[in-house]
């Protein structure tokens, strides 16, 4: 049964010495965190690297919570803090990967863990996460109305399977690349409600 406590209540319990609420936080946010970090990173097609980013972000989260760096400012404040931290971590690791600084001090400045809970603004990563949730909901709705054949097509597209390989799938034997393209185009028109 899912833990119905708010994030802030979970953090409070964590501060009280119980580590298990961190598991709930981890599983509650892992998918959204990955989506946001994937969206932010320059290396979005490298799944292994994105997983490393996610691991790093949760590692920093764990350390910050251990050091009681997060100060609750009401419901929703943990979420904003977490996504702020993920964004910083993503920029930092991407920068590191590109420029390779020489010392750990450039990587982990002492002030890094003291990330303030920011006021919401237009480019807030929390908003992006909400947007990704919204798209997720739309996707679920549209996908549920597709035929099994169309659902399989979109699954293959999401798995990065190329058109030339899709036409060899049992559902699409006899189709041409052009007709596959047209099918995907028609389906995605439904995502935008056209």
């Amino acid at each position: 049964m899912p833990d119905s406590r708010t994030d802030e209540q979970l953090v409070e319990a964590f501060y009280g010495g119980d580590n298990t609420p961190f598991d709930t936080i981890f599983y509650r946010y892992i998918e959204e965190v990955r989506a946001v970090m994937r969206g932010k990173s320059w290396f979005k097609d490298d799944d292994q690297y994105i997983d490393e980013l996610v691991g790093q972000a949760f590692d920093v989260t764990w350390q910050c919570l251990k050091d009681r760096k997060f100060k609750s400012q009401g419901q929703g404040s943990f979420r904003r803090w977490l996504f702020g931290l993920c964004q910083l971590e993503c920029y930092k690791q991407d920068g590191n990967r590109a420029n390779l600084p020489k010392t750990t001090s450039t990587l982990f400045p002492a002030s890094f863990a003291d990330i303030p809970v920011r006021a919401k603004k237009e480019t807030d990563p929390d908003d992006e996460s909400m947007r990704s949730e919204q798209i997720n909901e739309q996707l679920k709705e549209v996908l549920s109305k597709l035929t099994p054949e169309e659902q399989e097509l979109m699954r293959m597209v999401a798995d990065k399977i190329k058109y030339k390989d899709i036409i060899n799938h049992r559902f699409f034997i006899g189709h041409s690349v052009v007709s596959i393209k047209q099918k995907i185009y028609n389906i995605r028109q439904r995502f935008t409600g056209r």
Partner: protein, 185 residues
């Protein structure tokens, strides 16, 4: 109006291909020129980019191996500060990932750039003391990212073929970024 719609459908198909990394039926420049003047197609591109990103993420997260990977990740994070087992009664916890993981990355890059390196030369090459360099080398060995060979009296360490390819791929991306930055200047 109808013509306009048909025209945009042609670009809509190209947008589908572009985001999926497939070959387009038109040169990129033609699509970009159209996007510069058509707001509806720009929105279409943005929507499809977002939707595809969510689809990819969702598909990845649903794989059993991903679930297992994240279970292991959580376990690793929770043990990183050594809360379990016999604890030292005093002293300061060292964050292993911060302290050594990053230097492992530097060694990885060094090996990618310079190829096989003598084990005793590693500390000087990555500017670390000998003990730390040993831990960092062990880290990469544990993750099966490096191999070792003995030539006469010298032991050499080098990246596995897969890791070397990954390094070149990353470097290729970086070179691309540098070129773009230079072109912008």
């Amino acid at each position: 109006m109808g013509n306009e719609k048909n025209k945009c459908e042609k670009y809509g198909l190209a947008i589908t291909d572009y985001i999926l990394g497939e070959e387009m039926d038109m040169p990129k420049e033609e699509l970009f020129n159209h996007l510069a003047s058509c707001e509806s197609c720009r929105k279409d591109l943005e929507n499809w980019r977002e939707t595809y990103s969510v689809m990819r993420n969702k598909a990845y997260m649903e794989k059993p191996e991903t679930k297992k990977k994240y279970q292991e990740m959580l376990a690793r994070i929770k043990t990183s500060s050594c809360d379990t087992g016999k604890q030292l009664t005093n002293g300061v916890d060292i964050n292993i990932n911060k302290e050594y993981g990053w230097h492992a990355g530097i060694l990885w890059s060094h090996l990618g750039e310079n190829g096989p390196t003598k084990v005793e030369e590693i500390p000087a090459k990555i500017k670390l003391d000998t003990d730390k360099a040993r831990v960092v080398t062990g880290w990469l060995m544990g993750e099966k990212k490096v191999c070792m060979k003995q030539v006469k009296q010298d032991k050499y360490i080098y990246l596995t073929k897969e890791e070397q390819e990954k390094y070149l791929q990353v470097k290729g991306i970086n070179i691309g970024q540098e070129n773009r930055q230079q072109a912008e200047k």
